[in-house]
Symmetry: C2
């Protein structure tokens, strides 16, 4: 019986894989990838194939979810397979589900980790990791669920930051920071005056980070995806410094937070 190594591609392009991942992929019998569980702004299947010196079969949502990753599982039954995924493997539930299917039929699995927005958001904004509460995804299409507002309110009541992940549709288009701010403030106007940090293309050369009150981000142009945002809780003095220097927060933005 064979094995599958899940390889994280990180945030931006195929050069977000680790040196260990490259070695593993070059040794593998076959390679698969999916690019839909997260948006990587500059990833290229051709460059990935060149790097590892073999063909990479790109799988879509239907193949991985509706068909249970049949082709991947079949290859893994008689060989060493690598499976490239955006970000850090297993942040997407699809990966967990696939991994469990593999275990059930005796395929060994291993992770080669990579950067994920969950930790990279700290480097991008200067906000401290241990001050984040539960994160939540803001959906694109359905009405804004009460759980989004509750998570934000619960975290804020404890002084914690909230990472808001923005939903990606089946067609690959993502809810934008401005749209999310609009959706949230329309349902709950109290959030208009809350401090948030918008983060676009974290880890890419043209990363854009901008702090402001939620109402002011509704019309801010953050450019191409991926987008995410942080609802800011209580701030440590070093976070205040960081928001000024790295996220363009003004004294006015920080009023009542300092």
């Amino acid at each position: 019986m064979g094995s599958v190594t899940f390889i994280g591609l990180g945030l931006n392009d195929e050069k977000g894989m680790t040196l260990e991942a490259l070695e593993e992929a070059r040794r593998a019998d076959s390679a698969f990838a999916e690019f839909y569980t997260n948006i990587m702004p500059n990833v290229s299947l051709n460059r990935l194939e060149e790097l590892i010196g073999k063909k990479v079969k790109l799988l879509n949502r239907t193949q991985l979810e509706d068909e249970g990753g049949r082709e991947l599982l079949t290859s893994a039954q008689h060989g060493k397979v690598v499976f490239f995924v955006p970000g850090d493997p297993m942040i997407a539930t699809t990966h967990i589900s696939l991994r469990l299917s593999m275990h059930k039929i005796g395929i060994r699995t291993r992770m080669i980790h990579a950067a994920s927005i969950v930790s990279a958001i700290c480097g991008a904004t200067g906000l401290q990791s241990y001050k984040f509460g539960k994160s939540i995804t803001v959906p694109r299409d359905k009405p804004l669920p009460i759980s989004v507002l509750e998570t934000m309110s619960n975290n804020s009541a404890r002084g914690l930051h909230t990472l808001l992940l923005l939903d990606v549709s089946a067609q690959g288009s993502q809810l934008k920071i401005g749209e999310a701010a609009k959706r949230i403030t329309e349902v709950e106007p109290e959030f208009r005056d809350q401090l948030v940090v918008g983060a676009a293309r974290v880890g890419a050369p043209d990363e854009k980070i901008k702090a402001g009150r939620m109402s002011s981000l509704v019309n801010e142009d953050f450019g191409d995806p991926p987008h995410s945002m942080v609802l800011v809780g209580k701030l440590h003095f070093m976070e205040i410094e960081a928001l000024k220097m790295l996220s363009g927060a003004t004294e006015e933005d920080l009023r009542e937070y300092t």
Copy 2:
């Protein structure tokens, strides 16, 4: 004026840097590293120097914190510097503080992200990212602060998991999973019967993941550091499957959680 690129080394050894990081380091005028903000079980300064083709100056806590990273800042004033750090940059507050000092004197900074325990713990345990509440560090030496128990209780009351990071002393030795479980259950016996997952050397070839009630982990040998643990909240059925398959949880361990 020059620049500093903070390069994350990830979880295990120098091959946890990304392909982008390797290119950046090879182009740099000078290279620095610190290995103390997190334990990387298999990192080697010699191999790092060979990989990037230049000397790497290793900085200790005194040089970076008490002396404010003077040598690093001086080099960065007239050249392109890379600075290697364990995990993902900016998870340690030392990095944030250094970065702000650089900005103040006009040195440009950039991050090349890498894997962090904050997201890798999901891949290691099968627990889902969006179900984690605030994380907290269990200190090694001082009495257990009430904030540790409060964070665990607050998260549990909301059904959320708690990532417990284990303190590393100035001498580089880390609180072990068993010791942390002992400290917690001595102060608050109610936690004896809570389900936790111990995670040692996540991302290394000899990673060990083991679920059990907190009282049973007191005497479990997880081997060398780094160690961390998760206090488990409410479980999704897929998380239950994952804990059984990947973390050796028994039906008895999962009683009242299913």
